[in-house]
Symmetry: C2
Subunit: 408 residues, 2 copies
């Protein structure tokens, strides 16, 4: 059986040099198929995630090159010993898989494995030693595979905290981040962040300076340091900690991939703290993911006269974030989440689905977007987009006007 | 019938020139007796409040000069047509009244009325035009009477907000207070505060500068401007707004009276906002009262590097205060309380009784206090002090050590 010129065996062979930990021949095939999928579907695609969860990655890959018909899927379901599947689910699965067909490129898959090998990246899947198990809480939106540069981390994610914030940081924000990161390292925490300029960079640097473990999640491939000004910083992070990405090596970051990368930062960490953020900072998206997942969410207040702290204050007001003013309070916040698997601050308010967060992330306040544009941007099926927009409309979060939908 | 040389008729005569609004002969007697009580019992004394609520102020005053025996109270209960009263309640009432006996001084009562007359103060009781009806929510701890200097306020308390904070304000705190007070006046709010230096003073001044109504509650008599540096400010407040006090004219403020004054600020206003406060600022006591009463409570964040904002951050963390960053958000906060009479932010957490707040206010973190010292400081009966300490001990808020009780 080959997928557009790439046999299962060939993919497994490509995966051997990069697989994270000890793997069997059988699991290698599945690992390779997951990696191949991650070069086809966009990160966080729930439809693909659902099919892979049901049929396995190899079978889902094979659907790409077959006609991907309902009959074919029904056959695969029988092979997998799955019970009765409704027509609606089958048809959703078909469209979930086949809409990515045009993006499959065997050469790109081979190249991604080659780049990974030459840049020393490893490939982790659920169960691999380097897999951050908390991301499984994302359900069908969990990553299928993760590429890792750096040290093999074991328990580090257990006691980890995401320190994030705006690129446009002030001296105040940087100072607060330095103190927080350093104090949390002293308390045995690994510092997770996004390697951006400003708050993220300071969080990583302070952790490195104190000899702590720090972990970066990138929106592009782990072999493409981004921003390029942080190439040396990312190399240092990989020496003692690790750099993760969901997309294969060589892939460029995009707006959508940044938003999806944010969900990994929130999901992989025991708690998320926003240290300084303007009212529209991307770090609020990370905070939204943490809140949706029921992870403890903290925000560091700042002067109300500083627009650079307006986003943090919004989190305190609208997301029920906990006000944290010191490393000790952040450590306490992270501990508050461990006792209850879901729950913690923010769990009282109705949490939005990952789809809703995706759509909100893709909507603008000014330019109206059509349902099909939103479906394309989010990788969701039009029907799902419409259903979620309806709910958000009821919430008063989005509005339909002449040309399409905007955020309120 | 005379009370230690002061007949009901004589007291009513004294009250005539200061009574707020139109009153009948009969209500004058009751008003005068409430005023006389307020020169005997300490503000907020729940035992006296309970007896006055049941028997009326005149009858309670007469108990002072009689032996105040259980038999005498039982007789009064019958006169008032009250139903069956248990021995325990009767005995609590006797001790509630008689422990103030030694403080009754007919000359002091006469002098207080004279001072009020000459300083242009009026005497308000529940139902008077100047009475802030929200204070009735304090129950047995509601004031029996209030002395007022200034304009007769009618609906102003309806749309009022307490802006409070530390005396040791920074430029940041003063700036934020100026903006808040001015913006709230623009939105039609009356500004309630405590006339202290720092945040309180700025709240009053900004309201006056914008031609708004502002109201000060003092811990001493309204004829004793405190702090003396705010004599002119208080005179200006009385010109367009009003200055209130629970204690009669001539009475000096004490620590206990400041704490009780704080309960009036919180109770009289639709919402309370702390603008800048250190970790041990007295304004946190006002916030505690607001929270206990289920009034919306807001706190303005500041830099976490500023000790002057540590109290505000504590309110956000521990009291579930709402983060407010602008006058618009404060107006919204006040509106959130109107829809539900009790409730609003903070109503989820178990609220402390007024007694508990009194005892906490009287406890120190360093010097241990005995039950009898606490009873004296709070005007509560020893048995009540002990019961409340037990509850606070369970909460982990207080601790008993060798010599007595301390706050944790």
């Amino acid at each position: 059986m080959t997928v557009a010129g790439l046999s299962d065996a060939r993919m497994a062979e490509l995966a051997v040099p990069v697989a994270d930990g000890d793997v069997t021949d059988e699991s290698l095939q599945e690992i390779a198929a997951r990696a191949a999928w991650s070069s086809v579907a966009e990160p966080g695609d729930g439809a693909a995630g659902g099919v892979v969860a049901a049929l396995g990655a190899s079978a889902t890959m094979r659907l790409l090159s077959s006609r991907g018909s309902t009959a074919r899927i029904r056959g695969l379901c029988e092979e997998q010993g799955l019970g009765e599947i409704t027509e609606a689910v089958l048809s959703a699965w078909v469209s979930g898989v086949t809409r990515w067909r045009s993006r499959f490129d065997a050469d790109a898959v081979v190249e991604a494995f080659g780049r990974a090998r030459s840049s020393g990246a490893r490939l982790a899947v659920p169960g691999s030693p380097s897999w951050p198990s908390r991301v499984d809480d994302l359900g069908v939106h969990a990553p299928l595979a993760l590429w890792v540069r750096g040290r093999a981390l074991a328990g580090e994610f257990g006691r980890s905290i995401a320190l994030v914030g705006a690129r446009a940081a002030t001296g105040y924000g940087e100072h607060v981040t330095l103190e927080a990161s350093s104090g949390l390292v002293d308390r045995g925490f690994a510092i997770v962040s996004g390697a951006a300029y400003g708050i993220d960079g300071m969080a990583h640097r302070a952790a490195l300076a104190d000899g702590g473990t720090t972990i970066a999640f990138l929106a592009g491939g782990v072999d493409r340091p981004y921003p390029s000004g942080h190439t040396a910083l990312l190399a240092r992070i990989a020496t003692t900690g690790a750099v993760y990405a969901e997309v294969p090596c060589g892939v460029a970051p995009t707006k959508w991939r940044f938003l999806q990368r944010n969900r990994l930062i929130a999901a992989a960490s025991a708690a998320t703290v926003v240290l300084e953020a303007g009212a529209r900072s991307g770090s609020l998206n990370t905070a939204g993911h943490a809140s949706s997942l029921g992870r403890p969410l903290g925000a560091v207040p700042g002067p109300v006269t500083s627009v650079a702290s307006a986003g943090c204050h919004r989190l305190l007001r609208e997301y029920d974030a906990t006000c944290v003013t010191s490393a000790a309070e952040m450590a306490e916040l992270a501990a508050s989440g461990s006792s209850t698997d879901v729950g913690g601050p923010g769990s009282d308010r109705p949490s939005r689905s990952v789809e809703a967060e995706q759509i909100l992330g893709a909507l603008s306040r000014r330019r109206a977007a059509s349902v099909s544009e939103l479906a394309e941007a989010t990788g969701l099926i039009s029907g799902d987009v419409q259903a979620v927009l309806g709910l958000l409309d009821l919430e008063g979060t989005v509005r339909e006007s002449g040309g399409g939908w905007t955020r309120v």
